[in-house]
Each structure stands twice: as structure tokens, then as C-alpha cells.
């Protein structure tokens, strides 16, 4: 069946070309990212405080990508694990902690970060074990319910969590010779480092045995099970691994912001992260990063910039409607429209996974391309 297609040799050379390009661009991107604080200092850009949350949210998106993109489990309560990680760190390092010992001897922040990831993973197992056998959209709603319950419980137990007032100040990491509290650069490099590590880790996972098992389950659970893959433990692993990413990111978020409160972890956060994946291309790591940069960049950098510009135009030409322009107020409208259009026009996202597409192409030649892309992106359990 495949004989009449592109010669193998040609495919190989073109592959290595693409790979060469890929390595070059990756190198440039990393170099740029590392050099950014220095570029900023020279030109006085003041964007670092905006970039740090963007990068951290990409870490979140990479974690959610394991759950949604690799294993095909729609998680609408991802922010709950983010909250659990953040509150774990706060419990271990903040003077607002309910544990008395923390006041005198706060736990080292690096250790607290690891604890946050572990605790979040535990909660992932606790929630996942009874629910992962549910069908896709039911699982989505269960996770959504969980995502609502966690911030509500935090809000309603001020004896433990200080409720809506939030826990503050949180501890911060220390390295010899570096003052982390309010300095921006160390946080930038920490988050960038975590991001690069996450890219590496999720990339390796995807290529590993377990990664292939996730994709097999995503495609056809019954077939995968008959091939000897245990669907429950495989799914559970993806779910709790995603949760631990979220918890880890939560610990960094808490340390960076120095204050956490329940409303930082509401439904819109879960949706925002999901949107990054859907926009970029589920299951594809470069796609997720692109989606994260686009959305985060829009949210934190571009919307301010465009709003400022519109206001400038309004002031210059005396257009009253533009004087108080604020794009961020149309945020949900823009996101909502983007979601609908994306689903209708290009459900695979802007950068769909090329490799999986090629694999699929070889496997199911008779299907149309669109159908293939969709079936790789979503579970199809009908």
C-alpha cells in the first residue's frame, strides 16, 4: 500500500533537513529567552513582570497537554491542582500557615516546591481513581465540579487558609548571593528553567512507552486494552502527572506573587490554560508553547498595548468612545469567539502535531485528512 508513496530516502533527507531547522530555531529561541532580561535592561522595556506569568502558564499548559493532548482526558478543573500546589507551599512557608512550627522554622522553599508537586499528584490520584472510568464529557463535568469545590472550600475555611484575605507573605527560594524576594530577574530565570525542563520532560514522555500507551488509549481504548495496556493505571498516571505539573507551577506562582487567595484559581484559569492547548494544537508541544505565547502575550502584553494605543488615538482625535478603551474587558468575548471559530474551522489548532499526523496518514490512508486530525485530537468513543 505504501510502495507508491514518497521514496524512503527522500523522506529521510527531508526529515533531517526539517530536524536541522528545528534544532536551529530551538537554539535561537532559547538564546533569545535567556538573553531577554539583558535586552530589557538595555532598552528599558519593563515587560519581565508580564512575561513571568506568561511563561508559568505555558508550564501549566504543558502539564494539561499530557492529560488532554496525550491521554485525551478533558480536564476542566485543572486550576484546582494549581491551587493545591500553591496552598501547600503557603502552608509550609507562610507566616499565615495554620501549622505553628512554620512561624519559627519555615520549610525550605525548594523542598516545599517538591512537596507541592507530590501533594497535587496525590489529589490527582484521589480524584482520578474513581472518575477516570467515566465517559469523556462526564469526566469533564466531574473535574469542573472539583475545580469549583476546591476554591470554595479554601474560601470557606478561613481558620486554615485565611479565606478570601489570602495567605501572605509566602516564603521564597534562596541561593547563595541571590535575593529572591522582590527581584525580578531570578524569578524570570527560575520560571524559564522550569519551562525548558517541562518541555524536555513531556517530550521524552511522549516518545516513551507510556506516551505511546496514552495515545493508543486516546485513539481506541478497547483496542489498547486488548493489546495489554491497562487503561485505568495508564490514564491515572497521565492525570496525576498533569496534576503534579500544575501543583509545581502553583508553588512557583505562590512564591512569585507572595500572596495567594481562592479567586486566583477559579474556572477561568482552567479554561485559559485549556484554550492555550486547543489554540496551539493539542498533543503537540511546540503548538502548546505557541498557543501559550499567543494567548498569554495577548492577555498580558498586547491588550495593554492596544488599549493604550486606542486611548492615544481617542485623545488625539477627540473620540470619546476610545478614551477609556480597554481591550481586556472584551477578553472573554475574544476568547469565546476564538474557541467557536477554531472548533468550526480548524479544530486541530494552529500548529497540529506533524509527527502524529504522518503516523496516522500511513495507518489510515482511506480517511480524509481532516477526519484524521480530529481523531488524533479527541477521543472518539461514540
Amino acid at each position: 500500500m505504501k510502495m507508491n508513496r514518497v521514496p524512503v530516502l527522500g523522506a529521510l533527507t527531508s526529515m533531517s533537513d526539517a530536524q536541522q531547522k528545528r534544532v536551529t530555531f530551538l537554539g535561537i529561541a532559547i538564546a533569545l529567552a535567556i538573553a531577554y532580561p539583558f535586552i530589557e535592561q538595555i532598552f528599558g522595556l519593563r515587560l519581565q513582570t508580564k512575561l513571568i506569568p506568561v511563561l508559568l502558564f505555558i508550564v501549566l499548559a504543558l502539564g494539561l497537554n499530557v492529560v488532554v493532548g496525550f491521554a485525551g482526558l478533558l480536564d476542566l478543573g485543572y486550576a484546582a491542582f494549581f491551587a493545591i500546589g500553591a496552598y501547600t507551599v503557603a502552608f509550609l512557608t507562610s507566616s499565615d500557615s495554620p501549622f505553628a512550627f512554620v512561624d519559627t522554622a519555615p520549610v525550605n522553599f525548594w523542598i516545599a516546591m517538591v512537596a507541592a508537586a507530590v501533594v497535587a499528584a496525590l489529589f490527582g490520584v484521589l480524584l482520578g481513581a474513581p472518575t477516570l472510568r467515566l465517559r469523556g464529557d462526564y469526566l469533564a463535568i466531574v473535574t469542573l465540579g472539583f475545580g469549583e469545590i476546591v476554591p470554595l472550600v479554601i474560601r470557606n475555611t478561613p481558620e486554615l487558609t485565611k479565606g478570601v484575605q489570602g495567605m501572605k507573605p509566602i516564603g521564597f527560594p534562596e541561593l547563595p548571593g541571590l535575593r529572591w524576594g522582590i527581584a525580578t530577574e531570578p524569578w524570570y530565570f527560575l520560571v524559564l528553567g522550569i519551562l525548558l525542563l517541562s518541555v524536555f520532560l513531556t517530550g521524552r514522555l511522549r516518545a516513551s512507552r507510556i506516551g505511546r500507551a496514552w495515545m493508543a488509549i486516546r485513539e481506541d481504548e478497547v483496542a489498547a486494552a486488548s493489546m495489554g495496556i491497562n487503561p485505568v493505571t495508564t490514564k491515572l498516571f497521565a492525570f496525576s502527572l498533569g496534576a503534579s505539573f500544575s501543583g509545581f507551577a502553583g508553588s512557583v506562582w505562590a512564591g512569585y506573587l507572595q500572596v495567594i487567595s481562592p479567586e486566583q484559581f477559579d474556572f477561568s484559569v482552567s479554561i485559559f490554560v485549556l484554550l492555550m492547548i486547543v489554540l496551539g494544537g493539542m498533543g503537540n508541544i511546540p503548538g502548546v508553547i505557541a498557543g501559550g505565547l499567543l494567548l498569554g502575550g495577548f492577555d498580558r502584553v498586547l491588550s495593554d498595548f492596544v488599549s493604550d494605543m486606542l486611548r492615544g488615538v481617542g485623545n488625539t482625535f477627540a473620540i470619546d468612545a476610545l478614551r477609556d478603551a480597554d481591550i481586556s474587558r472584551a477578553r472573554t468575548l475574544i476568547f469565546g469567539t476564538a474557541l467557536v471559530i477554531l472548533m468550526l474551522v480548524r479544530p486541530e489548532g494552529i500548529l497540529p502535531s506533524a509527527r502524529v499526523k504522518a503516523e496516522l496518514h500511513a495507518a489510515e490512508e482511506d480517511e480524509t485528512e481532516a477526519a484524521q486530525q480530529r481523531s488524533e485530537l479527541f477521543e472518539s468513543q461514540r
Partner: protein, 409 residues
């Protein structure tokens, strides 16, 4: 496919360049001159907007009067928003990010705000470590500055100044250890028969104030029949039933309009029409009366300072100027915002060539003595950053307006 990422990065960087070119700031001033910046951080969305908009007007008014110039320095002013579209109220993350942004922009020498005490608790520690002065026209929670005040935690206020950083926070309004206490005494004067049911909105400000009131009510032998959190909700009908069942003839509510305090009053009145309601400066804005409707008539509000409708002399002159410039009436915190900006300007003037140095500005603001602005009396900051003014007003709502009733002590 992957080549799009660097392209994206390049686009982002290019955008950043454009942004910086537009912002066009000079270098932070060494020697004499340059641009320095003052920011404010208030919730610019939601129920407080009616109030905060006038506060930003007042900031701008003060800076416009000096043409945004002090000596060789040009002052830039930016009003940051600490509310989010989703919450329609101040938000911890947004406030923390505002503070971080201010720390990161080396041109910024003073941070005016916040509106909500809970928000101040977030930004004080961050700004303190950067030697950045923070001055609020509206925070009233005692624990931000005062050690050992009623209703605060033992770790307060020290935990807001981590690592023993030098005090950077001051406020031009009197704190709630006064407001809660005068409220209890006023209620005693007005007469309590069935008892008082104390409600608060669970926030730092609301709960703190409720605790102060509770302590003084006990001293005054007011009968307490209930004490409970009433966090933001669509309606408070079940809670109102509970209050009615308790036999209370008074409700003391310390909370915010943004947490639907007006709807609470409406439901309380519907459950028991004879109930009397006393509340605090957190609801002293016109939106509260809109929420409560007819139920607002005749209810009691305490407030630190004097409301605009009772201004005489210097404050009255200022209020007339404000009205002429912006059309509408100033809200209760508008004049304090103007005073706040004036204090900052005075510090910058005094600093002379060192106006770009954060620590200098901080020390000058904290050391404000015998200041004569538009409040109609000379005042100073004490060592903790609290004002020496202790005037408190009791107001009664009449014809949909807050009418000054008496000065409370």
C-alpha cells in the same frame, strides 16, 4: 512548523520595542531632572467604580495644578486597576502584580492606594522591600499599622514589613479602631432594645471592623444576639430570616457595596420591616443606595472624616472647584485622594535633586508634619504612618443621599 516559534518571539520582541518607544521614558534621574512616576492602584471596575473614578480625578487634579512638574522633574501619573473583569472587585493577584510592576519600574517613587485594606495587606510587604512609599486615601483596617489594636492578629502589623524593612506605609484617613468604637457608642445613644446582630463580609476590612465594634459593644453593654459572616451572595433571604428570628432590632454590617451590602439591607427590611441598620464607610457610596432602594431610607452610616455634603470652609472651596472641573459631586474619599496626591507632591518638592530616590521620598512622606492641605485642619503622620485626625461622622440616609447627622467621638 516549528519555525513559527522564533518568528513569534521576534514579533513579540518587536512589539516590545515599539511599546518602549511609545512609553518614551527618560533615564531615572541621577543629578537633577528627568521623569519620575507616581502610580495609583484602585479597583477601576465593579461597584466601587463610582467612588474610585472620582479618586483618580482628584489625583489628576492635584498633578495638573502643578503642570506635572516639580523643579527639573517631570511627573508621570498612571492609574493602575487592581480589579479583574471576572471578579468586579479588587483581586489579590492583580494587586500583587501591580506592586511588582511598580517595584520593577525604577522611575516609580510613590504608590498611591489602595482602596481596600485587604489589597494593601498584599502590596505593603512587596513595596516595603523595595523602599517604595505607599500612601492610602482609603484603607482603614487597624492591623496594617497599629500593634495591639482590637480584633487584629498578634503577628500584625509586623508581618506586613518582612525582614524588618523600614515602614513605608501611611494613610490619610483615620483607622477603624476609631470607627468601630464610635459606631457602638452611637448605637447605644440611639437605643437598643432587642439586641444587635453583627454581620460582616469576611474580608480583612469588614471582619476587622466587626471585631472592633463587637468589643466596644460589649463595653457598652449592648446585647449581642448574633455574629456571622455574610459573604457576597445574590440574595440574603435565608440569612435575613435568621436575623428576624433572633429578635434583633439592630443590624451592624461592616462590609462593602461590592459584596452586595445594599441587597443585604433590602432583604433584611423585607424580612423584618422594623429593623434598624448601621453600616460603615465601605458602603458610603451612592451605589449602595441604588442596591438597597427604598430600604436605605433612614439607615445609619459611620464614616472616618466628614462627608462632602457637610463641608465648610477650605474643604467646601475645594469641593466647588472639583465640581466645576468634573461635573459630578465628589464621593466620600475623593478629598482624601486629593490630599494624598498633595502629600506626595510636597515630598517630591522637598526632596529636590533627590526626588528620584525611593528611600528619600519614603522617609519624607512618612515624616509629614503639620500638613495643611484641603481637609480644613493641620495634621501629621505619627511614627506608624497614621494620621492625627480623629474626626468621625455619623450619617443618615435621606432622600437617597448621605446626610451628615453628627460628629462622633
Amino acid at each position: 512548523m516549528t519555525k513559527r516559534i522564533p518568528r513569534l518571539l521576534a514579533i513579540l520582541t518587536a512589539l516590545a520595542f515599539v511599546a518602549s518607544a511609545c512609553a518614551g521614558g527618560g533615564l531615572p534621574g541621577g543629578g537633577g531632572g528627568g521623569t519620575i512616576k507616581v502610580v495609583s492602584s484602585l479597583p477601576m471596575q465593579g461597584a466601587s467604580l463610582g467612588q474610585t473614578q472620582t479618586m483618580v480625578n482628584a489625583f489628576k487634579m492635584a498633578f495638573e495644578e502643578i503642570n506635572y512638574k516639580v523643579g527639573n522633574f517631570t511627573i508621570e501619573f498612571e492609574a493602575l486597576d487592581d480589579a479583574t473583569p471576572a471578579r468586579q472587585n479588587w483581586d489579590t493577584a492583580k494587586e500583587a502584580e501591580n506592586a511588582r510592576k511598580a517595584v520593577d519600574d525604577k522611575r516609580i517613587v510613590a504608590y498611591m492606594g489602595t482602596y481596600n485594606s485587604g489589597a494593601a495587606a498584599v502590596s505593603i510587604p512587596i513595596l516595603c522591600q523595595a523602599n517604595l512609599a505607599m500612601i492610602s486615601p482609603a484603607n482603614t483596617y487597624p492591623g496594617l499599622t497599629k500593634k495591639g489594636a482590637p480584633g487584629i492578629e498578634p503577628s500584625e502589623p509586623d508581618k506586613y514589613y518582612p525582614g524588618g524593612c523600614k515602614r513605608n506605609y501611611s494613610r490619610v484617613v483615620p483607622a477603624d479602631d476609631l470607627q468601630g468604637a464610635v459606631g457602638a457608642r452611637w448605637m447605644k445613644e440611639l437605643g437598643v432594645s432587642g439586641g444587635v446582630y453583627i454581620l460582616h463580609d469576611n474580608e480583612l476590612y469588614g471582619k476587622g471592623l466587626a471585631d472592633v465594634f463587637r468589643a466596644e459593644a460589649k463595653n457598652q453593654n449592648l446585647k449581642e444576639v448574633g455574629y456571622e459572616g455574610a459573604p457576597k451572595a445574590d440574595n440574603f433571604r435565608t440569612l435575613a430570616n435568621k436575623v428576624a428570628a433572633s429578635g434583633a432590632d439592630w443590624v451592624y454590617y461592616s462590609g462593602l457595596t461590592a459584596n452586595n451590602g445594599g441587597f443585604l439591607l433590602r432583604d433584611l427590611k423585607a424580612a423584618k420591616s422594623s429593623i434598624k441598620f448601621m453600616s460603615v464607610d465601605g458602603v458610603a457610596e451612592s451605589e449602595f443606595i441604588t442596591q438597597a432602594g427604598a430600604a436605605a431610607e433612614g439607615q445609619y452610616i459611620t464614616f472616618g472624616g466628614i462627608p462632602a455634603s457637610a463641608y465648610t470652609g477650605k474643604p467646601k472651596e475645594w469641593a466647588d472647584k472639583y465640581k466645576a472641573k468634573y461635573g459630578g459631586n465628589p464621593e466620600v474619599y475623593t478629598i482624601y485622594s486629593y490630599e494624598t496626591a498633595k502629600v506626595v507632591i510636597a515630598a517630591i518638592q522637598k526632596a529636590g535633586d533627590k526626588a528620584a530616590d525611593r528611600a528619600t521620598i519614603r522617609d519624607l512622606i512618612m515624616g509629614t508634619k503639620d500638613f495643611e492641605g484641603v481637609l480644613g485642619q493641620k495634621w501629621s503622620f505619627n511614627a506608624e504612618g497614621d494620621t492625627t485626625i480623629t474626626t468621625m461622622a455619623g450619617m443618615i440616609i435621606k432622600n437617597k443621599d448621605f446626610i451628615f447627622s453628627k460628629e462622633l467621638k
